[in-house]
């Protein structure tokens, strides 16, 4: 059971999210906007913050930035589809994930759980080393699929271990470039695409319909270990 803060100016959305999360066994507090949410956060510790983007007073993006100044609590943002570029900015600002409205309750709870698990993982759980029929041996730097070793280039290996570090998370192009290449200067997202494409060809059963490494359109990539 975790304590979750839901921030939305719409009473309906607050109720829907509260019911779904409480049914999943969590304790839920609700706030009506960013200012309100910051007030709650001063009083209590939360394991996850779920916030809407468009709100009076302090909006979602400003709230993300304010929270990131003092806390690394996981943040899930509710957006509407037209805001693709806004999503990238949100993630680069420090949001962990987003759900697109109108979202399914199951999707919301699944995303929340992925973030909660990762939140706990920060305390030092061993990093993921197995998904589908792929196994990663970090000590030996060997990756096997169906028991057969895969030949990954150093960049591909580095890409794989990076996305494995946050199962279920979205990575923006910029974040991946910074993490794997150590710089965003001189490397374009084209380079990233080429390496990601070849990593997929080696890992996925059907690279045309990838299960594990999914493209998040115009944002980046999402690694989903459940496939």
């Amino acid at each position: 059971m975790s304590r979750i803060l839901v921030v939305d100016d719409e009473a309906g959305i607050r109720k829907v999210a509260r019911d779904a999360l409480e049914r999943a066994g969590h304790e839920v507090e609700t706030a009506v906007d960013g200012e309100d949410a910051l007030g709650f956060m001063e009083e209590k510790e939360f394991a996850l913050v779920i916030t809407d983007l468009t709100m009076p007073r302090l909006d979602g993006r400003a709230l993300v930035r304010r929270i990131r100044k003092s806390s690394d609590v996981p943040i899930l943002v509710l957006t509407v589809r037209q805001e693709e570029r806004e999503k990238v900015r949100l993630l680069d600002d420090g949001a962990d994930d987003y759900v697109t409205k109108p979202f399914g309750v199951a999707e919301l709870v699944a995303r929340a759980h992925a973030l909660l698990r990762r939140g706990e993982g920060r305390a030092g759980a061993p990093p993921l080393s197995r998904f589908g029929d792929v196994e990663v041996d970090r000590e030996a730097r060997i990756v096997q699929k169906r028991g057969k070793p895969l030949h990954l280039t150093p960049t591909e290996y580095s890409l794989l271990t990076t996305i494995l570090s946050k199962p279920g998370a979205v990575w923006t192009h910029r974040q991946l470039l910074a993490e794997v290449w150590g710089t965003t200067a001189g490397v374009t997202s084209d380079t990233l695409r080429v390496h990601m494409g070849s990593l997929r060809r080696k890992l996925e059963d059907d690279p045309n319909r990838p299960r594990f490494i999914r493209t998040e359109p115009w944002v980046g990539y999402r690694f989903s270990p459940e496939g």
Binding site: E10, G12, I13, K15, V16, A17, D19, A20, R23, L53, T54, L78, V80, R81, Q82, E83, E84, R85, K101, P102, F103, G104, V105, A106, L108, D190, R193, G197, N208, R209, P210, R214, T215, P217, W218
Partner: protein, 480 residues
Amino acid sequence: MLERLRARRVGYPAAVLLVLATIGILKLFPGLADSSVALLLLLSVFLAAWIWESGPGALAAVLATLGFNFFFIPPVHTFTVEDPRNVVALFVFLFSGLLIGRLSALARRRLRLVEAERADLAAMTRLSQAFLSDTNRESLLGVAADRLRDALGAEHVTILLANAEQALAAAAATSAEDVRRDLAELAYRQGNSAAFPSRHGGTDIYLPIPVGLQRAGVLVAIGMRRSEGLAEGCAILLGLALERERFLRLAREAEETKTSEQMKSTLLASLAHDLKTPVATARGAIENWSAQAGDSESAGLALEQVELLTRRIGQLMEVVRLDSGLAKPQREVVTCAEIVEAAVARFGDAVAGHSLFIDLPHSEVRVEADPAQLTEALGQGLENAARYSPAGSEIRVSAVADGGSAFLRVADQGSGIPPSERERVLDRFVRLPTASGMPGTGLGLAIARSLVEMNGGRVRLSGFEGGGTLFEIELPLAAA
């Protein structure tokens, strides 16, 4: 010109008077040596030449020589010279007088020119400062004519500017005085300036106002008393000021457009939010409710309808965005495989009842397009294929390169579209009569076409022998 003439008219008698007065004064002191008399007379020549310049200066020199001979060289009061040495002295005196007069006049004239140039420069500086302080066309033109009249010492100044149809019209004038249209037209059309003596005195001048290689209009100064060079400089300054004002105006307008687009964009974002939030609430509430009450057919139906409503709202928002002019493509190089993946991920639910095949024979088919818009377009094609072909039938999505183009295709096994209707169904709100029983807005394919064309591509519909429709997006391949 006129001032010099006037000065010369006064100059000759004045020079004569000056020399005669000098002689008169010298006669009052009979004890003076001849050499002193000669020097003092030369001084008067110098003064005459300094004040009235060359002509009167030369006259003063000749007169002083004659006076020196007549009044001072013995025998006095005659023009005869007894001593041959005095003849030489007289010639030396005449030569010196002429030379001093000439040098003095020359120095004076140079000084005068330098002063005039300095005054022109000062006038230009004042004018340019005044022009620079004005950032608005009306206020600039409002005072420009008065400022130019003062700077040019003119009776009257008119500024004629060309309008959009290249016709000259008076934009500013110091008074209602008429100017010659023919000369103004000549100056504007051919860039020839015209200057001639004015009936007010001074010069009338017609000057083109240069703006880069073009001309903005014509500057007319009537009865100008300053140099033509200054007038030309003023015309150039005026051109620069007008050009500067135009650039400032363009920059302001660009800024205003940007602000209004930002406002529209904010409005649209909040419209999308306001439309989708109630749907999201309804969907969540139904799901929560059915989770408590146990799954039911009604809940399933409600969710299906909510899903449909969501797609309609998405289409409507897309149409609003297209019409608002905000849907400007932000193009980048993407592979068609990514577009297919994204479209299948996003519109996958719509084709869940069909067997979907994805065919990407060329791994790197790259196009330069806005990825979100291209995905939306392909998704509309997918959704259309799913809607108008029987459940369980095959839908094939492919991306290939052929010639210089990339082709994104969706092939279905539906009833097909008659060739005569294929162009028309790409228009808004056009639906086939055979589709009348099915839900749909007739917007999907129209949206796809607008989005693709915006990115420099084309959308085509064609058919197959045994039925079925091929939806095809063609885009130029990105340069390698």
